[in-house]
């Protein structure tokens, strides 16, 4: 569905008096298969939106090529536009216009007749729980409803490939969970390929078959969320030993399956790859040697751990301080 090779986008920004060239996207290769749901994860300013804008023909790549839905983004942009749906961060519905009118107009710009656009729009209103809001303006809607309306706009011409840019930013947890359900249905009910950007770890985790991590304009990893976590750090196993005199024995037992074992007060901790498989044996072992545990905890690694291992920074730090990169105004909006 998407094949990109060596995508580059450079911007010139002013740093004081000097004009500085910034590579917002610095050689991105990516492949997305039909029917896949891919999460594009990275801190703000990493180049997510810029990449997305190149794939959706809104921005001409400085270098590199991309084929989207079978067409070249640079030379066949019209065909690309016809085949994809795109929901930007800003949405795309005027606050003072009636929702239904906007959806119909949008569909008609894709070449649908007024009747087709109306039918398709109303069906989508049903599917995305917007019943009865056809005549409303976005001003009179909740954040979640507005975001679902944006998605209706992106789907009205029935595209097979959908780009969602930060679909749940700014929503409260309930609205977010609800939107996740709807996004999940895009594939299960419409068979659509979904490419979404996010800087929420939970979101990439919850929605995507595959996570691509982008940092400073380069893709640093691409795999299933499970594999990424397993490959990078393993699970943390934390044993609380009931009898302090047996701490060293417990540590020795844990060392047979874990790396980086450390003792901290009553606790013994270590990193175990695929703890679900290894821990039952460990427990039998401890039981046999008579080491009693007050508690045991297995902590699954998060994508933040993955990000930290890959880039040396945590996702939150990366957002807080773009240390060696000037802030790109508008580049990731």
């Amino acid at each position: 569905m998407i094949q990109a090779r060596g995508l580059v986008q450079t911007f010139t920004t002013k740093q004081g008096r000097k004009k500085v060239e910034v590579r917002a996207v610095d050689g991105v290769d990516l492949d997305v298969a039909e029917g896949e749901v891919v999460g594009f994860l990275g801190p703000n300013g990493a180049g997510k939106t810029t990449t997305l804008r190149m794939l959706t023909t809104l921005l001409r790549p400085t270098a590199g090529t991309a084929r989207v839905a079978g067409y070249d983004v640079a030379t066949q942009s019209k065909q690309v536009r016809q085949s994809i749906g795109y929901v930007s961060q800003a949405g795309g519905v005027s606050s003072y216009a009636r929702a239904g009118d906007e959806v119909v107009d949008h569909g008609m710009l894709y070449g649908l007749s007024q009747a087709q656009a109306t039918a398709s729009g109303q069906q989508l209103f049903e599917q995305l729980d917007l019943r009865g809001l056809w005549q409303r303006t976005p001003k009179q809607m909740s954040g979640g409803q507005k975001r679902r309306l944006d998605i209706v706009m992106g789907l009205v011409h029935d595209p097979t490939l959908i780009f969602l840019d930060e679909p749940t930013t700014g929503l409260d947890p309930q609205a977010r969970a609800n939107l996740w359900e709807h996004i999940g249905r895009l594939r299960s009910e419409r068979g659509a390929t979904v490419f979404l950007t996010t800087h929420y770890l939970e979101e990439a985790d919850a929605l995507s078959d595959r996570v691509m991590i982008i940092d400073q304009g380069r893709i640093v990893a691409s795999d299933t969320s499970e594999n990424l976590k397993a490959a990078v750090s393993g699970d943390q196993v934390d044993l609380e030993v009931a009898d302090p005199t047996r701490l060293t024995d417990a540590a020795a037992a844990l060392e047979t399956i874990a790396d980086l074992v450390e003792v901290d007060g009553q606790h013994v901790r270590g990193r175990v790859s695929r703890a679900g498989r290894a821990v039952p044996d460990l427990l039998r072992d401890l039981d046999r040697t008579g080491i009693e545990l007050a508690s045991i905890e297995v902590i699954r690694p998060t994508l933040d751990d993955v990000f930290l291992t890959l880039t040396g920074r945590s996702l939150r730090d990366a957002e807080a301080g773009p240390t060696d990169q000037p802030v790109l105004e508008g580049a990731d909006q």
């Binding site: 536009r81 795109y86 800003a90 795309g92 519905v93 710009l109 070449g111």
Partner: protein, 251 residues
């Protein structure tokens, strides 16, 4: 054919949005009426000094061009709001022609201008203006051309600056000399020589003079030729600029 259809979809949406906010429609209509009713009488005693016969035949063409320019100059402000809400981006991601996205908006501005022009001319006749029908038609057409050019430039400027705070001073800066050097309210001919020479370089002055000539029925003048040339050239230039911006707009 698709181009016309796409332009019409954009146009219809814009008109619908405008009609949802009738205050603007009302202000648009009131503007020319106020000028004619409140400024026209001031001009009456001065008419002999200008060497014109009828104050309204002099004033109405100037007001027409002013309406065309200044109403349209502000058209871009609405576009900044639309850009901020993602409307422009949503339209740009459809296969619709970029020129159609601009032309649909211009059509709204020109349509609005046409209605205002009809009111202005109608009221002018009611107050004693005398002008040949053919001249009025050509004069109004020239006005629409100028209005379209200014609206296109305003839209292009809006998408380039993307900020009302930047755009407002720029427009004011452009508007002041245009207003003062075009002879819209008072003819440039009563000014000193140097001022007239300066105003020779102001395209809008030629357009104002051209519209005046059509209203007095002088169709063979060099002013009319120059004014028409300027109007067509400005329109072409602005349309090209606007389309380029809609195609390239990147942020």
């Amino acid at each position: 054919m698709t181009f016309v259809r796409e332009s019409f979809i954009v146009f219809r949406r814009q008109v619908r949005m405008n009609l949802r906010n009738p205050a603007w429609v009302l202000i648009g209509v009131m503007q020319p009426v106020l000028y004619l009713v409140l400024f026209g009488p001031l001009l009456k005693p001065l008419v002999d000094d200008f060497g014109v016969e009828n104050p309204y035949t002099f004033l109405v063409p100037g007001l027409l061009v002013q309406l065309g320019m200044f109403g349209a100059f502000f058209a871009g402000f609405g576009l900044i709001g639309e850009w901020r809400e993602g409307v422009v981006e949503a339209e740009r991601v459809t296969p619709a022609s970029r020129t159609a996205l601009l032309v649909g908006r211009l059509s709204r501005d020109v349509a609005q201008l046409f209605v205002q022009a009809l009111i202005l001319v109608g009221l002018g006749f009611a107050m004693g203006m005398r002008a040949p029908a053919g001249g009025v038609v050509i004069g109004v057409l020239l006005t629409l051309l100028v209005g379209g050019a200014c609206a296109a430039a305003s839209n292009a400027l809006a998408l380039t600056t993307k900020s009302e705070d930047v755009m407002a001073p720029v427009i004011n800066m452009v508007m002041m000399p245009v207003l003062l050097l075009s002879g819209i309210l008072l003819p440039m001919t009563i000014g000193p020589d140097w001022l007239q020479r300066v105003s020779d370089f102001m395209p809008f002055r030629w357009i104002v003079d051209a519209v005046r000539d059509t209203f007095t029925g002088d169709f063979g003048t060099s002013q009319l030729m120059w004014g028409t040339t300027w109007a067509v050239a400005l329109f072409g230039l602005a349309l090209w600029w606007g389309t380029a911006v809609f195609r390239k707009e990147n942020a």
